[in-house]
């Protein structure tokens, strides 16, 4: 919507910002499923490190099915390092590093629990839905 407004010479107000598309590494579900930079694949017992940066203006809450991950690093909340969670809030301009050593196999969704961000232009499923596959 902002793009449309700006492209047609209008102005925008940051306080009214309500995005309607949500991407990870530039892609939304279902295209995201084919992106090897975003879809996590590993084996049981391997240690996975995941860097998440929120370069948008929306707040997100990234939820992992199947696994809890440890916060290794947080730009905004250093005191949260060491917490083991399944849902990870991430604010605009914040980065997190998470670590997982999976103990069981399976394919599980990894998605935003800010459920507006699993839609795209009002259609579900879209947006920030990825997967983790452990073999």
């Amino acid at each position: 919507m902002w793009n449309f407004v700006l492209n047609t010479g209008g102005t925008v107000n940051c306080h009214d910002y309500e995005p309607d598309y949500f991407t990870v590494n530039g892609k939304s579900y279902p295209d995201l499923q084919a992106d090897t930079t975003a879809i996590i694949k590993a084996n049981v017992g391997q240690t996975i490190r995941l860097v998440i940066s929120n370069t948008g203006l929306h707040k997100h809450s990234i939820h992992f099915h199947g696994y809890h991950l440890e916060i290794l690093y947080s730009t905004k909340f250093p005191a949260h390092v060491g917490r083991v969670k399944d849902s990870f809030p991430i604010d605009p301009y914040e980065s997190l590093i998470l670590e997982l050593t999976p103990e069981k196999p399976g394919t599980f969704p990894v998605h935003d629990h800010n459920l507006v961000a699993v839609t795209g232009a009002g259609e579900y499923p879209n947006g920030m839905i990825g997967f983790i596959t452990i073999q």
Binding site: H15, Y17, E18, P19, L57, H58, K59, H60, S61, H63, H65, G66, Y67, H68, A79, G82, R83, V84, K85, D86, S87, P89, K104, P105, G106, T107, F108, P109, H113, N114, L115, V116, A117, V118, T119, G122, E123, Y124, P125
Partner: protein, 677 residues
Amino acid sequence: MFRKHISFLLLLILYFSQGFAQTMKTFDLVARQSGTAIMWDGTSVDLWGFKEGLGGNVNLPSPLLVINEGDSVTLNVINQSSMPHTIHLHGLDVSQANDGVGATSFDIPPVMGTGTYKFKATHAGTFIYHCHVETVIHLQLGMYGGVVVKAAGGANNAWTGGPAFDSDYTWVISDVDTSWHTNIPMNGSVPGFDPQYFLVNGKSKQQLNDTTVSITADVGDKVYLRMINIGYTRNRVIFPAALSAEILSSDGRPLPVSEVTDTVDIYPGERYSVMLDFASAVTDSILVEYYNMYDNNVLFTNRVPLGATPPPPPATVKYDQLDDFGDFTTKSWGSGGPNPNPPANVYSGGPAGSGDAYLEVTSNGSGGAGAKLVAFNTAHWAGDYIGEGIKTLRMNVNNFSGPNVNLRLRFDGPGGTFLSVNPVQVTAGSGWQSVIFPIEAADLTGGADYTATMSEVSNVWIYNSAGAIFPGPVTSSVMGIDNILATGPATGFPVEWLAFNARPRGSSVELTWTTGIEQNNRGFEVELSTGDIFNDFSTIGFVEGKGNSDKRSDYSFLTDPLPPGGYQFRIRQVDFDGKFSYSNIASVVLNGQSMASVYPNPVVDNGAQLNVNLAKEEKVTVDILDIYGRHIETIVSGKLGNNTLYLDLEEYLDGMYICQITTKTGKMTVKFMVLRG
């Protein structure tokens, strides 16, 4: 991809105990698209959701599932609706097959389709279950509830071995946009989300007084608050500083370092658990704020009431409290408490005769409530017996009819239940008599902490039992009780001394004594002194007591032969619990020897006894001298034989004195000391 189709036969909740922390737990949930939630302003919102059992409507949120760490859990789901649904076990890290995501496992088909989810609860904590079909829509429509995994064995700890709490609350925080519920979005087409209602456990504003939401505690309690955000907004929960809120856990895992804070931000899908310390009386509220995910504007604030009141003040037993039933009421005895619950009435004809009201407690002897002789009081006889210095309860009792009974007291309180060590036997047809129940630590048995119970007694019982157990036998009895008095220790000793005498029998001495009431009396040690200073008594024998008696009892003891001389005797009465008391002193002279003694010696008060035992009655002078032999006063100038005189020593300073008895034939002296400290 696979589906599970399980025949729908039974809706039973099954529990198979396999020892501690190995329980199987089964929930039978029905998915329905029929339900309503009433918002704070009366607006009715259509719901989808899960409920336990067939029939009926769903509520918001769906039922809280409570299990214990280590449980093996089965969720049987019946889909009683027109659309597929699933249950995603959010945060429980179940296997892919049980994850409740249709694309990676199975949907539960519509119209009585069934599905089963199985998992083991490996971590105590707070989790969520919700439908994961078209999640954005089905979740908003109400298909969510909380899962609490308690510590192993269901203990009140944040996690197994973790910090303990007195009570816990679970808040499922969410929001409602009524337009989604009125015109249900279909085929994945999701309208803008613009909520009007902001909820905690489905409640808002004045509805927050709901007992699952508002927090009530006793002062001193620790309350563990589990918070779940399963809404579409970001929550900020703000606690009164007085509660010293401390985040202990998030997403079902203990924090590596707990965080003391008055503000907890909870994003959708997150859970945080905080320990609240109600250290002092407080009435306040917790703010629950709801924010958009894309700005910092507060959409709504709920204020959840909380309060901690001091524990109810202990009831009002007072030293010297007396129930004489003079107002012809039962004074709350024998009613309003637990069974057995015998009839208790007030009649005329107490110890003081006609017109004197007394409590009559009857037992029917035929089983059921009222079969046993019990009276109890949870009203003004509850309270702090230690703080009041109450050492005995005394009363008049009358065993009107029935067998002999053994009355005991029972005290209930935080330190456990205590019973009288020794009973007071009241024989059938006893008539009115006075009885004393000692209630000091050695007098009561059973509970873990005497002080805890006796400083906060909740219930006092008078009951019949031969042994220190409760309750006693079934009896058909009529027991009168009157003049129940809370007071100090039994007056010095639980034996009423009526007489004590010593007289020569040849070269031996025969001692005889008589008691009235005996309580808990083990017996009597016979003590002998040769009459020197400091009354150096030594024990020469023992006579068993009656234990408990309300009748006159006569005792006697014959000494071994003694050499000529003067002797003093006294009796040391000993209780079963080690308490003791002394009789007076009796003196005797064998074989023509005269003697005298002062008792007690040292003198600790303003007076003392002077026992004079002369071989024959004769004229004497009794003088008091100081330690240097200076005359102070003459007590007697006249005839004496065997006499007990009273020495008034009020004017005497502390020190050693000499009592000198002068006869025609000689002088006899006794030293005594005044030592008042």
